[in-house]
Amino acid sequence: MKSNGLKVADLSVHIDEALILSDISFEIEPGKTLAILGPSGCGKSTLLKSIAGLIPTSSGDILWNSRSLLSSPVHKRGIGLMFQNHALFPHKTVQENIRFGLEMKKIPRSQADKAVMKLLDLVGLRGYASRSVQTLSGGESQRVALARALAPEPKLIMLDEPFNALDRSLRRRLIEEIYGILMSLGITAIHVTHDSEEASQIADSVLLMDNGNVIDHGKFHDVIKSPKNAISAELLGLQTLWKPILEHRNGLYGINSPWGFKELPEPIASSYKVLVRPEKIKVGLNGVEAVVLNNVYVSGQKLVKCLVSDSFSVHVKTDGEFNPGQRIKLQLNLSDIEILVEHSV
């Protein structure tokens, strides 16, 4: 079955006999961006390095435009990788670092230098060309690493937490510009991040990983609407999750919430978390008693954090002004309570 773009099929990777990645499968269409979300140590970096060919795979396949990459050496795959630790060449200047991939492609020096200058402008480091990389700050070296990976215009580029050292405005600007470039050039991208908001801005689809396994995969919009389990929800930055008390009532298993008893969906699992989205809770004249804790601002949106029944807190999206300590009443439909299994089987 012909398919274009990147396809990873049942990829497993062992390092020193320990299983790091287990049966990873996903596809990315050419020119699209996949965000990979996962906690630290889940194997994201290993996955990227395997795709690049730096780490041997134990089983499975990696294909580009239906052709397996496994027999190609690293330097022939045309896959760019921006390292989490930047790994700039310490003995070369900024310009020489960025130019490296172009030199490998035997692009003439003058042309390459022009490209380097453009990239330096792009990442906001104009004038840094002859600087030694030893003198750069963390944010500056991250941008150089980014520019270096972009320079040779690879067919697939993989960015490992590329913006984590940058401030918000710089981050926003870079996301816009870089992804603009990637789109116009039709470069496929994998973007590893732990910031779900960032992921939502850039990605067409998202891959959620935990412990070397894929937990969820699909269009961002779909995955966020129906998270498969509580971990996915946490990775996606969804609020609010709390651990419910399980009850057995009238022969049925369910959770007991201040808004009522809700039955557990089949099949029954061993542990659950409950998700209540801020926009589903209403402040009203009657409902469950809650005490306002404080106002939090998420992406410029105000949420009110309240303590419910002295046991758990929820975030409420509301226009009203509330002060800490104020007593309010919260209304919620039982149908809006989402019960999520803690871990998928």
């Binding site: 730096l54 027999s71 050496p73 330097h75 390292f83 630790n85 790994a87 310490p90 991939g101």
Partner: protein, 544 residues
Amino acid sequence: MDITAKKVSTLTTILTVLIIGTFYGVFYFFPVGNLLKYGTEFTTIKEVFSSSSTWKVIWFTTWQALLSTFISLLIGIWIANVFTKFQFRGKQFLKALSIIPFVMPTVVVATAFISVNEFLRLDGTMFTLQGSTFGIIIAHVFFNTAIVVRTVGSIWPLIDPESEMAARTLGSSTSSTFLRVTLPQLKASIFASGSLAFLFTFSSFGVILLLGGLEKATLETEIWRYATQRTDFKTAAVLGIIQLTIIIVMLALNSRSRRQGAAAPKSGGSSTQPSCANTHFLKFRLGTCVVFIAGFLGLPFALLVERSLSTNNGYSFLYYKQIFLESSERFSVFGTRQAILNSLLWATFAMIIATILGLLAAILLTHKSQKLSRSSDVILLMPLGTSGVLLGFGIIVGLDTSILDVRSEWWIVPVAQAIIGVGFVSRIVSTAIRNQNPELKQVAQTLGAAPAKVWWHVDMPIISRSLIAGSIFAFAIAIGEFGATAFLARPQRPTIPTAIFNLLGRPGAATFGQAMALSVILALITATAVSVLDRTGSVVGNEI
């Protein structure tokens, strides 16, 4: 790694083992073995071991070497620290100064030390440098400081200063930080330079003979005495076996300790930059060190210069003129001008051999296979600790088969010097290789660099600084004609050390003055060559 890369790697390893193995086999193991076989007779062995002087000699040789090494490490680390942390005028000059002791013929060093002795009026006191163990140790430290400073000094800049800062914020004092954070990262280079220093001092010959006063005997001087003055090869060989055994044990121990608990600082992260001494305290720190270097290393040299300039008519450049102009017949026999040329050529040749082979040998030292790297650790450095007498004699006796009669070819001399140089280069280079950040190679590959290009663009520049440091030593050893050279039968061409030797062997104010002048010239040539190499190293390796 894919299949072709693995194949290339294995092929490289096989080739390297063959080249190094043949070189060492032919020019070291075979000759030395030829001599040591005289020591396998049981009666001689019994005689040697039952004599109490043998044990005294073994004991003295070992403890003076350990003490010399220890003090060299202390002083060397101190100086390396200052060189790493501070930028100051004259840094390059001082760096070059530190290597000069290495090239000086021992006789000249002895002369210089005796001058110091007089100058500081130490004669007769507890601190006399002449005829005392103290003198021996100080002379050894004098030689070995350079090794420690350059080896440790090439790794120290790679330490991430933030690791030290983090420790301080966690409540660790300056000294505690140094011991617990900095030192472990330097451990490998300390062990590397320490082993080199130990080998030198253990098999030290000229220093013991000239400065040690005559009661002090080491294994090396005894081997010399029995082999060359008594023509008793059996006893000499038994002593040689003892010497070699101790060396092998020490190298093996060194190899093991080096691997434990060492945290090599990786290149590619942030590094320690030298800065100007701003505060009074820092100025004080810097100042004391500079004064010490200038004094300790510079004083003997300065006195040497003084002697070369002092004629019976006051100070002048008379002797220098005589060397270069050879105006009168009476000096033409020393061939001083030709000597300078010959020395430079031969030393360069030896350095090139040592560098190329040392680089290959470093591959063995840093190989994944433990067996290979551990045995290389020991084998590659054995020549440094082996008696020059035995090696020289061994070459004369051994390399005389009809296929291989090379013992009096001119190139056997640079080869004999290169054998020692290989040990240096490989040890220093392997330390740098171990400090490499593996991600740099990986990144280069993802940017489209094939394995050869990776090596050229990433590996080489980073280890080039260490490679040059090693080459410098190989050059210095060669130009100073260290080791087995004296005991080979070599074509008589004037070189600087032999010219100095001949000048000092004839009575006369002029011959003595010229010998001093020639020593100064030797020092200056070496310093210049070293500065040139240093500069090349910094351009290529982007030295800080």
